[in-house]
């Protein structure tokens, strides 16, 4: 089964969601080609060529792909689609935006955010914010259009040496234009891919108090997240949000501070390897999913944690 995997990147670096989605792509059979579409993305293509399992990297380098505009990306993918039996991409905001366009044009029903490949035509995906798992089968002879939840798959090795083939841009549909971008600047790792995440909830009481978490985050090289309650209260911007309506994360260690554990938040972090909860309400539902729960006032416990980590050399 010939598979096309579309790489996620920011024109500078390849996101590791791509090598994770590769694991899903390989499970479908192969060969797997990776499409890198962007502007000045030679280095991204070089990185993609190292993903084990890639048979070749298709490089479409053009200004019209610089911002992953859905209309332009879909047009390019459609032009390539004839040769492939399956088309996959990580379920990132851009992948989620262009992939359904591809599916609609090919007249196939897309399968969103798969978390496992059960057979080459059978996939499992979460529904109801992960409160139920749905297993679906694609009818034979149908092209598969799939987005992959990266946190559900192990990254493929980076031992490959695929050839890079430059391809031309597709005719841009000229429907939309990029205007501007306001990205939060942070020295910390990105929430979606961080090994450790420290999140705060409504219990933080204010945006200023998040500096308590930032100190811990800096010691553990962690990303800082938040619950929807903390975002709604205006403590932190929306891109901090972990949950059903925010980012889905599955780090090695997730530290939830002052978060009660609403279903909507649990949906975004319950696949983390180890969960720590710090909350003064011992009845808080977050404790039911926490591997290590500490019932304590966060304004006492978090500075203490900072002190203890410092003492231990972090």
């Amino acid at each position: 089964m010939a598979v096309l995997l579309i790489a996620e990147h920011d024109n500078k670096s390849l996101k590791d969601s791509t090598s994770k989605a590769m694991t899903a792509a390989i499970a479908l059979g192969g060969p797997v080609d990776i499409l890198v579409a962007g502007h000045s993305v030679r280095s991204v293509a070089d990185a993609a060529a190292k993903i084990a399992g890639a048979s070749k990297v298709l490089l479409a380098d053009d200004t019209q792909y610089a911002h992953q505009l859905a209309e332009n990306m879909a047009a390019l993918i459609l032009e390539l689609s004839g040769k492939y039996d399956a088309i996959l991409t990580p379920a990132s905001p851009s992948g989620k935006s262009y992939m359904p366009r591809v599916a609609a044009a090919l007249d196939v029903q897309q399968i969103s955010e798969i978390v496992s490949v059960d057979a080459t035509d059978t996939f499992t995906r979460p529904i109801y914010a992960g409160n139920a798992m749905q297993q679906v089968q694609v009818p034979s002879g149908t092209k598969k259009v799939i987005t992959v939840r990266p946190t559900a798959f192990k990254a493929a090795e980076l031992s490959g040496t695929a050839a890079i083939e430059t391809i031309g841009a597709a005719k841009g549909p000229g429907l939309s234009e990029f205007v501007r971008e306001e990205l939060s600047k942070s020295e910390r790792p990105e929430l979606a891919g961080a090994r450790v995440v420290v999140s705060g909830g409504r219990g933080m009481q204010s945006g200023e108090n998040f500096h308590l978490l930032e100190k811990i985050a800096d010691r553990l090289k962690a990303a800082v997240g938040a619950s929807r309650a903390a975002v709604d209260a205006g403590f932190v911007p929306n891109d901090y949000q972990v949950g059903q309506t925010g980012k889905i994360v599955a780090p090695e260690l997730y530290i939830a501070v002052g978060i009660s554990g609403a279903i909507q938040h649990l949906a975004g972090m319950k696949d983390s390897k180890v969960i720590v909860a710090i909350n003064k309400d011992e009845e808080a539902p977050i404790f039911q999913v926490a591997d290590y729960g500490l019932v304590a006032d966060l304004f006492k416990a978090v500075p203490e944690l900072d002190e203890e980590l410092k003492k231990q050399g972090y």
Binding site: L69, P100, Q109, S176, E181, T245, Y292, G293, Y314
Partner: protein, 250 residues
């Protein structure tokens, strides 16, 4: 200009759903149903555009069972002008089917803007708006946190990884809503009464020549793996010790 808002009747946000014992789906008997929260934001946005004088008519469209009438009434009570119910007779419909029906309606009604929720909180597909955009050959602004209409263009600010991206779309266009776009209003009692007199046109998928049969076969719906937590530590020192030596994650 005319705006079409697509809405879906889903299990209420606050309901803790149960998977059926025979694994054929989620138990929807006697469960509170509501308008998909992202669609509510879509209806609100259309009303705000009308209040600004940008929009002249708002049509609320829904594809679903007969009971979806109530959901459309809610949209009418909020401020939509009329409704279209595409009655599926209770059959589950996939996003591609809904997109095809909406495309047929969009062709007939000629809206300059179609607003949809970014995803329904039941199937979590996040597809319909984008599919509709492709079927119409229109641009899209997904995950919108701000929409500004300026003549024949729409400037849409989108929630992306790490921040916001603003795109300029040629109208007609599709917008899908994210949480921060607005806070939907509650319908007032007089408006609920008024909504009872607003027209709802009832159609079927066949009226639009759309085959509503699902493409994917659902083999089973199961409970997610349960996480076993509940262990407590007594102090910060014990926590750090366990994270280091027992879990080995720091």
């Amino acid at each position: 200009m005319k705006v079409l808002v697509a809405i879906k009747r889903v299990v209420d946000y606050n309901v803790k759903i149960r998977v059926k014992a025979d694994q054929t789906g989620v138990d929807l008997a006697n469960v509170k149903m509501s308008m998909n929260p992202f669609d509510e934001i879509g209806v609100e946005e259309a009303i705000r555009l009308k209040e600004k004088g940008v929009v002249t008519e708002i049509i609320a469209v829904s594809v679903g069972p007969k009971e979806t009438q109530e959901t459309i009434r809610t949209a009418l009570a909020m401020g939509a002008d009329r409704g279209i119910l595409v009655n599926t007779g209770g059959q589950d419909v996939e996003p591609l089917t809904v997109a095809k029906i909406l495309a047929a309606i969009a062709k007939a009604e000629g809206p300059q803007l179609v607003i949809l929720g970014k995803q329904a909180i039941d199937d979590d597909c996040n597809q319909t708006g984008q599919m509709l955009a492709q079927l119409m050959g229109w641009p899209q602004g997904t995950f919108a946190s701000k929409v500004v209409i300026d003549g024949d263009k729409a400037e849409v600010t989108r929630e992306v990884d790490g921040g916001l991206q603003t795109v300029c779309l040629k109208l007609p266009a599709i917008v899908t809503t994210d949480l921060r776009l607005n806070e939907p209003r509650y319908a007032s009692l007089p408006n609920i009464m008024k909504a009872k007199k607003k027209p709802i046109d009832e159609k079927s998928p066949a009226d639009f020549g759309v085959d509503a049969a699902p493409r994917l076969k659902v083999l089973k719906v199961s409970e997610p793996a349960k996480r076993i937590g509940g262990t407590k530590v007594k102090s910060v020192q014990e926590l750090v010790e366990k994270l280091k030596n027992e879990a080995g994650v720091i």
